[in-house]
């Protein structure tokens, strides 16, 4: 089902599709296990196109657009297996733009010259997103953070947006990659990109204030991350579906295209239902929520559904390919691997449902 878009939105999507087309499986393969798993100049290009400041108010130099526009760009990034962290950079820029005076890192983050990424997660199941164990101490007028963040997409990052418990409860802080007491260790993922553990010991930090109209800055950034990851997951499953439908039309067994067999047709329809329901859910939520004040139950619902559906779809796409889909040289496996990574970050489907139970008051 097509989206109803304005002509500006259609142009934006076309530009993003063009950017994604220049990426794709071959480029993504090239970045596997590299030190920095993306092309910094491509990130700057995304900055030049305005996408990294897409949510940033125009008063702070951004495009002042909404979640729909963010999703349109990231859906294409997902389709193209784009490795540049456009979504993380864009939501970080949105966070850096919240205060009365924008954070000094905002401009370079928006134009892609520097990369700032969120570091909110401590636990593999995100049970503590709202209650970070990371501590912020205020001494001599300067703030210092101590603690550990996990599963940080730290590749090529210049700084981090970190949730920590301060004097007034959880707040958001900026820490420079090269700050004293800041230590990173990375592990490889099946997707070719790394995830890092960030250990801070009395690392100097500054507060990133929340926008007046919004809830707590940590929650606002978390909800943005859930929407951004979901949009990318949507693109991943849509492209995997497209590749698989093509294969079903072409591959022959028993003298006819395998896509003519009813059992495979119905499985293809099940895939389509997943992509379409995730799509409608994501874009309806995007259209009806302010980027700085997303209903957290909806953000969680979107991520739960996108995470579950992306795994369902990409797994089914491999099955529909048969043995060829199981080889490393075929592209379809790359979509499953990207789905494994994105669906697991900031809480998998089960973790989101756990949060949803409380957010939607399903306990009494």
């Amino acid at each position: 089902m097509e989206l109803h878009l304005s002509s500006e939105q259609t142009l934006l999507r076309e530009a993003a599709a063009k950017f994604a087309a220049a990426a794709g499986p071959k480029v993504a393969r090239g970045f596997r296990r590299r030190d920095i798993s993306f092309a910094p100049e491509k990130l700057r290009q995304a900055g030049d196109l305005g996408w990294l400041g897409i949510l940033v108010p125009s008063s702070a130099g951004g495009l002042s657009l909404g979640l729909t526009e963010l999703a349109l760009v990231l859906e294409q990034a997902g389709r193209g297996l784009v490795c540049e962290p456009i979504g993380l950079a864009a939501i970080s820029a949105a966070a850096l733009a919240q205060g009365h005076t924008p954070h000094p890192m905002l401009e370079r983050t928006m134009n892609g010259a520097a990369l700032v990424v969120p570091a909110l997660q401590e636990d593999a199941h995100c049970n503590d997103l709202a209650e970070p164990r990371m501590r912020a101490a205020d001494a001599d007028g300067s703030i210092r953070l101590t603690g550990t963040k996990s599963f940080v997409c730290a590749d090529g990052a210049d700084g981090f947006l970190i949730s920590a418990y301060g004097r007034d409860g959880p707040a958001l802080f900026y820490v420079d990659r090269h700050a004293q007491g800041c230590e990173l260790s990375a592990t490889q993922t099946v997707d070719g990109r790394k995830l890092s553990t960030l250990r801070l010991k009395d690392a100097p930090a500054d507060v990133v204030p929340s926008r007046q109209s919004s809830r707590n800055a940590v929650e606002a950034l978390t909800d943005l991350a859930l929407i951004a990851l979901s949009a990318e997951l949507l693109g991943v499953m849509e492209k995997a579906q497209e590749i698989t439908l093509d294969y079903l039309r072409i591959r022959k067994q028993f003298g006819k295209p395998i896509g003519s067999f009813q059992a495979l047709q119905h499985k293809a329809v099940d895939i389509y239902i997943r992509t379409q329901t995730t799509r409608s859910l994501l874009y309806q939520v995007a259209a009806n929520n302010d980027p700085y004040r997303i209903d957290p139950a909806l953000a969680v619902a979107v991520k739960a559904k996108a995470s579950e559906d992306a795994l369902f779809v990409t797994e089914a796409c491999i099955q529909l390919h048969g043995a060829i889909g199981f080889t490393d040289e075929h592209d379809i496996g790359l979509y499953l691997k990207r789905a494994m990574l994105l669906s697991s970050l900031f809480g998998n489907a089960a973790a989101q449902r756990r949060r949803y139970v409380n957010l939607a008051d399903l306990t009494v």
């Binding site: 089902m1 295209p257 329809v269 389509y272 329901t277 859910l281 449902r353 949803y356 939607a360 009494v364």
Partner: protein, 383 residues
């Protein structure tokens, strides 16, 4: 559900809520079966007088011409108060078809009674030998002078024995190939001589369906909708309306409320494993609401969703079944109770909706047929 109301919408919601609270009879709230006409139609007519019976119809034909968001607000408020299911064949099916394909005389004659609730419509598509393979239908209509003579049988006719009129697919060119090219779309007065109607009792204990027998029934030629032998196209053109109607999230929202009541009463609401399944179901209900809104939006703008409406039917009906499976899980050993269960949290009917919802994936084109349609016509998979 995924929106904050605009000030206008909030005002409209308040108006709807207040009016429903004041006007919907208590006996009609939270019903799992469709109340019989004597109970239901006065409420239908009350909604009609208020101008709210057909939110999606254009104003010129007596509809409300509501915006998408107003329609969603109404859906949510009707679910909230537990409003009963209305007969939908007039409002969601033949009404939009006549608006699109009817003659001026047909519109003038048939649309007002639908809006007023003075006439109930039935759909005459399925036959004993033509269910999933609808194009094989055998009920004949032979033009003799200015009348068709109709002979044959329809089955699974929802509310047939309560209905005044039927819109039916009939075979007018027996030799035509493909078979779809020999089918016409006809309006039949069910009070005509030669018609016998027999209710069919369902596993849920109600008689939602009928068999309708036509023994050389005379039907005026002016009751043909569209051109002769063009009935297949007409029946399919606006199928999206019917599929949208049957997948209105109102029913899923009401099912969720029923589950919660039962789960509170049986104590399982405090069980995290149940909460988890309820969360999964709730998230799918939000997704259905989103899909529905998206579809209504496209329908409003482009006039017709096409075969994509099938996925709404599939997702909506299979979700309803999953919800009612959760309902009997919540009921525990109450699951098989035939009558509604009185609890501290209200009366809940468990087995009836569970049994009723079996038909959701069968009627209006089974899930299997819908998947065939999507595979061929949306995904362009080969034959």
């Amino acid at each position: 559900m995924f929106r904050h109301d605009s000030p206008d919408e909030a005002a409209f919601r308040a108006e709807v809520r207040t009016w429903l609270a004041a006007n919907l009879p208590a006996a009609l709230r939270g019903r799992t079966n469709r109340p019989p006409p004597a109970e239901l139609m006065p409420w239908y007519r009350m909604l009609s007088r208020k101008g709210w019976i057909a939110p999606h119809w254009p104003k010129q034909h007596g509809g409300m011409g509501a915006t998408l968001n107003q329609q969603i607000v109404m859906t949510e408020e009707l679910a909230q108060v537990g409003a009963p299911q209305l007969p939908a064949q007039g409002l969601n099916h033949i009404g939009p078809i006549l608006i699109e394909f009817g003659t001026a005389a047909q519109k003038a004659r048939h649309l007002p009674p639908i809006i007023e609730g003075s006439v109930i419509w039935a759909q005459g598509y399925s036959e004993p030998g033509a269910g999933s393979d609808l194009a094989s239908l055998a009920t004949r209509a032979t033009l003799e002078g200015d009348h068709f003579i109709v002979h044959g049988q329809k089955i699974w006719t929802t509310w047939g024995h309560h209905s005044d009129w039927m819109f039916a697919l009939v075979r007018t060119a027996p030799q035509a190939q493909p078979r779809q090219a020999g089918i016409s779309f006809l309006l039949l007065d069910l009070h005509s001589p030669g018609i016998t109607i027999r209710p069919i009792k369902t596993i849920a204990g109600d008689d939602e369906f009928s068999e309708v027998f036509f023994d050389n029934v005379m039907v005026p030629a002016e009751n043909l909708v569209g051109k002769l032998n063009d009935g297949w196209r007409i029946a399919n053109a606006l199928l999206g309306h019917e599929r949208l109607g049957t997948s209105n999230p109102q029913f899923a929202l009401m099912a969720l409320e029923r589950i919660k009541t039962m789960a509170r009463a049986s104590g399982v609401m405090a069980d995290p494993t149940f909460q988890d399944r309820l969360a999964a179901a709730s998230i799918n209900v939000i997704a259905l609401a989103a899909l529905f809104s998206h579809a209504v939006e496209l329908t409003n703008r482009q006039h017709g969703l096409g075969p994509d409406s099938s996925i709404i039917k599939i997702f909506g009906s299979e979700l309803l079944q999953a919800l009612d499976e959760l309902l009997i899980e919540a009921a525990g050993s109450h699951a098989a109770a035939e009558q509604p269960i009185a609890t501290d949290f209200g009366v809940v009917d468990v087995s009836t909706p569970f049994l009723q919802v079996r038909r959701a994936t069968i009627y209006g084109g089974s899930s299997e047929i819908q998947r065939n349609i999507v595979a061929r016509r949306v995904l362009n998979l080969p034959n």
